[in-house]
Symmetry: C2
Subunit: 102 residues, 2 copies
């Protein structure tokens, strides 16, 4: 067995640049929306996305590295979660306004 720990930026390492760039992509906004709609605790494959598996891996990674989501292994699957508190702390109102926009 190997380590399998995914790197996440600390709360203070989350930048407005990274978050806005991450959220500028419609596929990634879709992931965030689905997470916000109680789609939490789900594997990556459970999301409804118009791209292949390898592309979706890329998008989840961008979201994680920007500090928008957390990813933790659970068996072979990955447990995805929105970093609501961290985002609300760093950039109050940003996540909500983007979610509200559709």
């Amino acid at each position: 067995m190997v380590v399998r720990i995914l790197e996440h930026p600390g709360r203070d390492a989350i930048t407005i640049d990274g978050v806005l760039s991450a959220l500028a992509d419609p596929v990634r906004r879709s992931i965030v929306s689905q997470l916000a709609d109680g789609h939490s605790e789900q594997a990556c494959i459970a999301f409804d996305l118009p791209v292949t598996k390898s592309t979706s891996t890329h998008h989840f990674r961008v979201l994680r590295e920007a500090g928008v989501i957390t990813q933790r292994y659970r068996g072979t699957a990955i447990h995805n979660d929105l970093r609501r508190e961290d985002l609300d702390c760093r950039f109050p109102g940003l996540l909500d306004s983007v979610l509200m926009a559709g």
Copy 2:
């Protein structure tokens, strides 16, 4: 004398995708910040930006086409303004959260 009218999207034509993509660039966020800091009524050249004039023209254009700013000729200069009301109407809280972030 020639027309010299710059195209702007109507309020309802402003998309979250366009706005987030526009605001994802640090140079453009700097323009928006300076506009918000009472830097209104200013020519493009009056902004403090780390790029050449032609590049700054590009960025102002992107902001205008995304519906973030208005641009109107005033002599040879351009009068730039933030579309606060339109943005607040379409995506409440978004502009403020981005401005707050620095």
